[in-house]
Amino acid sequence: MIVVNTETIPGYVVRETKGLVQGNTIRAKHVGRDIAAGFKNLVGGELKGYTELLTEARRQAIERMLAQADELGANAIVNVRFSTSAVTQGAAELFAYGTAVVIEPEQR
């Protein structure tokens, strides 16, 4: 499965458009990370725990999107976008969406 955030994939032609696919996940941070973050808010710097959490969550959202595309019989997702929203305090929703397409290598 090829995933890109451009509208076309160089070297391939889009044969068929299968429609919008999406994946989302909502993650809450836990207390241990909160304590570390509280300390970091004194001295500043990167909150590694949160970075990890968000990376993980984004991967999960992408995986769910991929699963949907698979179901539709697509072999690529183009024009992928991400969005986040704060649902409740301390929890974030990560959302990935794109267009599932069927591609073929370009004839030369």
Binding site: I2, V3, V4, N5, T6, E7, T8, I9, P10, G11, K29, D34, A37, G38, K40, N41, L42, V43, G44, G45, E46, L47, K48, Y50, T51, L54, T55, R58, I62, V80, R81, F82, S83, T84, S85, A86, Q89, G90, A91, A92
Partner: protein
């Protein structure tokens, strides 16, 4: 009365700690970012255009991402609160955003380089915050997220 002073006493200590350690860490981070950007400059080109045309054929295109969550220090947060009273430019948080943004872009470029890519197309930036919205815990941190399409030519 003494109870009041006991409550107030840690504030100057935290301010000094936040200012000294915070600005030291910030300077170190900025220096590190500058060094990494310089190293990256000749290796991976980054653009927000949809595509770049080059004579060499594209072999592979993949989604790459980078993200960073950077927390403010006690002094910055305090200074920003003061700023909130009189209004105007919040300089203290500008460097915070800059650090997060540069870090996120660099991480994305590093992922692209690991794939053997020479370009990143259609780079987009997003921000979100999972902290700082609570009334009880007004901790400030920013999250910047960068993504794009890494292109391998050859």
């Amino acid at each position: 009365m003494w109870e009041f002073w006991l409550g107030v006493a840690p504030v100057p200590v935290l301010l000094v700690l936040g200012y000294s350690v915070g600005s030291w860490r910030e300077r170190r981070h900025l220096a590190q970012l500058a060094a990494r950007e310089q190293e990256m400059a000749g290796q991976v080109a980054c653009t927000n255009l949809r595509h770049i045309t080059a004579p060499q054929e594209v072999r592979q295109a993949t989604l790459v991402m980078g993200q960073a969550v950077i927390a403010s220090d006690y002094f910055k947060t305090f200074a920003a609160h003061l700023r909130n009273i009189v209004g105007g430019e919040v300089k203290a948080f500008e460097t915070l955003m800059e650090r997060a943004r540069r870090e996120a872009i660099l991480r994305m470029l590093e992922e692209a380089r690991a794939l053997g890519a020479c370009e990143v197309w259609n780079m987009r930036l997003g921000t979100s915050s999972i902290t700082g919205t609570q009334q009880k815990n007004p901790a400030v941190s920013v999250e910047v997220f960068a993504f794009g399409t890494a292109v391998v030519r050859g």
